[in-house]
């Protein structure tokens, strides 16, 4: 039996009842008095000069309150590399470039006004292929850099170079070598709630931004900096999260529409809401970063990996958001998935006139793991070793220091591999080439925070009121993962209360302490560690209060009894049982002496003590509040891109059985087993929910989803043409939760938000190879691609 009362239980999400009754307020539902609606005019070209903009007709439209162009607002650069402005004044470099914006009394009027804005463009030569864009004579996407210096190439000044050991030596030590070219494409995060925000200034230029951001504090800082740069020194900014309709990476960067809302609100002195349509969500939101990989790896006669060499080219699009930083995560599977002594990884990010990219569940990990794990199967074939065996031979082990200097603590990867192997009946089913096939892939991912900023901290405040209700001011955000439920379980456990006593307030920079953001699968790990520390403090205060006031409370009760009942015999109580905080404990929100938990007088509801402690009457009254700021003992990557950037790492393996229709090329998934190392599951039903959702998204990534760009324009900006899975696309996902409590995790937990997606696509690709003998290394693996590959193979054979 577990030693815990609440963590590890599948507590239902009752704390989020508003979500099933229609009462939860998302950004789409938020109204502020006098609110206006903002809309954005995007570019009509992938690359063009803006010759002129005439807004006069739009301004005259009834209901229009402001029309802004790049000429109306200070030209301040924003973004990770400060390579764009909020409204583009002279040049547009992608179809989603924001050229003008309108605020009006209704979204319809704002939309109509956009149609009245006349923009004159002069088209410029554009480049859409990152390899073309690297050539010397390619059209330049940017003429100058952030500091105004002329730019000579489309290659970003952001080289990602990692090397460990000696590749040439590794090559010499190899008995077998495999080389593959692998490609992944753009996919849209497809949050069901579209992007949006409300910006509102008071008359002192203080801004409240209702934003869906996952990084309220970093987001706030970006806005503070922006306001400072446009001349509003000293403006205060408060960022408040409404209920968020999904994120999957989209809410890590502060998007341009948020700056535009700020500008419109400033101009009109009214609250302004911008809410994307679905079409905008497809066209104007940065998708997952695509990548082109060349991967080569080798092993010796026994199958031990000797080296791994990866070259990657990333189509950055026209500006730089988090997409360009995905190599920092790609590096993790490339250097540290399985034990490989000699590693080299170079990534080149290239500007093109395509839309720019950002984060999506797994960051760069799904892309890189697709490369590593497809190549593992190629290598297994070269070496004549069973692919599962090759993985087991090179399996990561606890206590290992990887070439990237990641310190592996707990690591049940071999258990994950063996579990799915057994479940899918590996030995029996593999290698038949009869249209049915099986394949597997594993993953490593950060599971104990990710130090991408100098602080990876997370703050929490735990207040206990006189009724014994607990208010938690939690600095993270919830985009649907269920943090309120899990945090209420962890707080209840640590404090000795019940989950239903706990309320959670999330994502408000005015109320909560600082946090680096809810990303990198870090929320449970961080919030849990912070909660344990804050609850320790609060609990200590309650116990001290108890030592102080319990004797009086008991005596008062006894006297009352005596008064009411003349026969009552005053008991002879041993007050030393409650004379020190250490002698007391709290469970289920009852305080009791540790030595006699069922004591008839000393066991009491915690609210009795809290009420008494708050109303002392002598100037000694107290409230209970514990706060903690947890910053894990991790390292930033150093100049060589090495460092232990997470406290712990999660592993997992997915095995898939597919059936491929040779006539249509269609791939059907017959079985999908996903074994995941979660440390300890805080809430098994919620953990499974993460695995199901991520696996489905991974199947979409593997087989159906693709944002189609033609000359920089998104050609399928709707759910008819962008193929997300529906309930009818049955994928029989079986989550297998592998528990091996991690010493650094709160109650042993590791993060599990992203891992489920990561190995799915390569497991499918490997299964397809097993089924029909063709290796497709270009995502998504559509029926057409399967047919083409089959035809090509038939041609080669005849």
């Amino acid at each position: 039996m577990s030693e815990y009362l609440y963590v590890g239980k599948s507590t239902p999400r009752t704390i989020e009842t508003d979500k099933v009754t229609g009462r939860a307020v998302y950004i789409s539902d938020l109204r502020r008095p006098g609110m206006l609606f903002g809309k954005i005019l995007y570019s009509r070209y992938a690359h063009a000069k803006i010759k002129g903009i005439d807004t006069s007709k739009a301004e005259k439209l009834q209901g229009v309150r402001a029309v802004l162009t790049g000429r109306d607002i200070p030209e301040v650069r924003v973004g990770f590399l400060k390579d764009q402005t909020v409204l583009k004044k002279d040049v547009v470099r992608q179809f989603r470039d924001e050229v003008a914006a309108v605020a009006a009394t209704s979204p319809e009027i704002a939309e109509e006004a956009l149609g009245l804005i006349e923009v004159e463009y002069e088209e410029l030569p554009a480049v859409f292929d990152p390899i073309e864009a690297m050539k010397e004579d390619a059209p330049l996407v940017h003429e100058i850099d952030a500091r105004g210096r002329p730019v000579r190439s489309n290659i970003l000044p952001l080289p990602w170079k990692f090397s460990a050991g000696d590749i040439e030596q590794g090559r010499k030590d190899s008995a077998y070598i495999a080389k593959d070219n692998v490609r992944t494409t753009w996919v849209n995060q497809c949050c069901m709630g579209t992007s949006g925000c409300v910006a509102e200034f008071d008359m002192n230029n203080n801004l409240t931004l209702y934003s869906q951001t996952n990084v309220p504090f970093l987001g706030k800082q970006r806005i503070v900096e922006y306001l400072r740069n446009i001349g509003l020194k000293g403006s205060r900014v408060r960022v408040v999260n409404p209920i968020v309709g999904g994120s999957f990476g989209t809410k890590l960067d502060t998007d341009i529409y948020e700056f535009i809302a700020v500008q419109l609100a400033l101009r009109t002195r009214k609250p302004v809401k911008i809410l994307f349509t679905r079409e905008e969500e497809f066209r104007a939101l940065p998708p997952r970063q695509p990548a082109i990989f060349e991967i080569e790896q080798g092993c010796d006669k026994e199958g031990k990996l000797t080296f791994r060499k990866v070259e990657a080219i990333l189509d950055n699009g026209a500006y730089t958001s988090w997409g360009a930083t995905t190599p920092s995560v790609m590096m993790m599977p490339i250097s540290s998935l399985y034990r490989v002594p000699n590693v080299s990884f170079n990534a080149t990010c290239v500007y093109t006139n395509n839309i720019y990219c950002q984060a999506m569940r797994g960051y760069g990990n799904p892309q890189a793991t697709f490369a590593v794990e497809t190549s593992m199967d190629s290598l297994a074939e070269e070496a004549g070793i069973d692919p599962a065996e090759l993985r087991l031979i090179n399996c990561n082990k606890p206590g290992e220091l990887t070439p990237m200097r990641l310190k592996i603590t707990t690591c049940p990867l071999d258990r994950c591999i063996k579990t799915v192997q057994e479940k899918i009946n590996w030995k029996e089913k593999r290698g038949k080439r009869n249209g049915r096939g099986i394949g597997m892939a594993s993953l490593i991912h950060v599971a104990g925070g990710a130090r991408v900023y100098k602080s990876d901290g997370h703050g929490i405040m735990v207040k206990v009121d006189q009724n014994g209700n607990v208010d938690v001011l939690e600095s993270g955000t919830d985009q649907g993962q269920g943090s309120p439920t899990v945090i209420s379980q962890m707080v209840a456990e640590a404090l000795g209360f019940r989950p239903e006593d706990v309320s959670i307030t999330l994502g408000d920079t005015a109320l909560c302490l600082w946090d680096a953001g809810t990303h990198a699968s870090r929320h449970t790990f961080m919030a849990g560690n912070a909660a344990i520390r804050a609850c320790d403090k609060a609990k200590k205060q309650i116990l001290e209060m108890a030592v102080e006031h319990m004797p009086e409370i008991v005596e008062y009760k006894l006297k009352r009894k005596e008064r009411k009942d003349p026969d009552f015999q005053m008991p002879d109580l041993d007050y030393s049982l409650i004379s020190e905080p250490d002698k007391l404990d709290i469970k289920d929100r009852y305080i009791f002496p540790k030595n006699q938990p069922e004591h008839p007088y000393f066991r009491m509801e915690v609210s009795e003590v809290l009420t008494r402690g708050l109303h002392v009457g002598t100037g000694e009254s107290k409230v209970v509040v514990g706060e903690a700021f947890y910053d894990p003992p991790t390292e930033m990557l150093d100049r060589e891109m090495k460092g232990n950037y997470s406290c712990t790492y999660a592993f997992g393996t997915t095995a898939v059985e597919v059936e491929v229709d040779r006539e249509t090329g269609e791939v059907k998934i017959l079985n999908l087993f996903a074994a995941h190392d979660v440390g300890r599951a805080m809430n098994p039903t919620l953990v499974k929910g993460q695995i199901y959702g991520a696996a489905y998204m991974g199947v979409g990534y593997g087989l159906t989803e693709q944002l189609q760009l033609r000359n920089g324009r998104v050609m399928n900006p709707n759910f008819r043409d962008y193929k997300m899975l529906t309930a009818k696309d049955v994928v029989p996902v079986v989550p297998l939760v592998i528990e091996e409590p991690d010493a650094d995790g709160p109650f042993g937990a590791k993060g599990i938000g992203e891992p489920g997606l990561v190995p799915t696509a390569p497991a499918i690709a490997n299964a397809i190879y097993d089924a029909i003998g063709v290796r497709i290394t270009d995502l998504p693996i559509t029926a057409e691609k399967v047919l083409v590959a089959l035809k090509k193979k038939a041609g080669e054979q005849s």
Binding site: E16, V20, S28, M192, G245, R278, M724, T726, A727, K728
Partner: protein, 160 residues
């Protein structure tokens, strides 16, 4: 702007409104009645986030022309809990089974499920999946939603 006056039943109550003829049912629910449960996920009939029940059928309210609502009976997620404020068995099952993550699809999902169970109280898994095939969910992979609907079907007392 040309306006139309329509009368219909909304969550059991007779109502009359006058709105531009171009408005759809979703806009009416959200703007005239501040019923925010039905969501706009696409606005063109492709995602199901706006699902409500009209005369027993689940419909995409975002493409339901307002003049056609005259005389009909509309049920939105706000109208399915008991009058005592208690939750509907589907709402309970969704919470219990983690069929709600971000929750943006949830109102629509629950209404599609209700329309299904009202007609077919003991659906097979396949029938459930067909019943909600017009409702996208990005978070859950549908598995726990299907399970929740099965759970509600089993636990129901009397009619939905």
């Amino acid at each position: 702007m040309e306006k139309v006056s329509v009368s219909f039943t909304l969550n059991g109550e007779p109502v009359t409104i006058e709105v531009p003829t171009t408005w759809n049912l979703l806009k009416v629910l959200r703007e005239c009645f501040e019923l925010n449960g039905a969501k706009e996920g696409c606005g063109v009939g492709e995602c199901g986030c706006c699902t409500v029940i009209v005369d027993g059928d689940a419909v995409n309210s975002c493409i339901y022309p307002i003049p056609e609502i005259e005389g009909r009976s509309v049920l939105s997620v706000e109208g399915i809990s008991g009058t005592d404020g208690g939750l509907h068995p589907l709402q309970k099952a969704f919470l219990e089974n983690n069929a709600v993550q971000c929750g943006f699809c949830t109102s629509g999902m629950i209404m599609s499920a209700k329309a299904l169970l009202d007609k077919n109280p003991e659906p097979t898994e396949d029938e459930i999946r067909t019943g909600i095939s017009g409702n996208f969910c990005r978070c859950t992979g549908y598995v726990q939603i299907v399970e929740a609907i099965e759970m509600a079907a089993k636990n129901k007392e009397g009619n939905f």
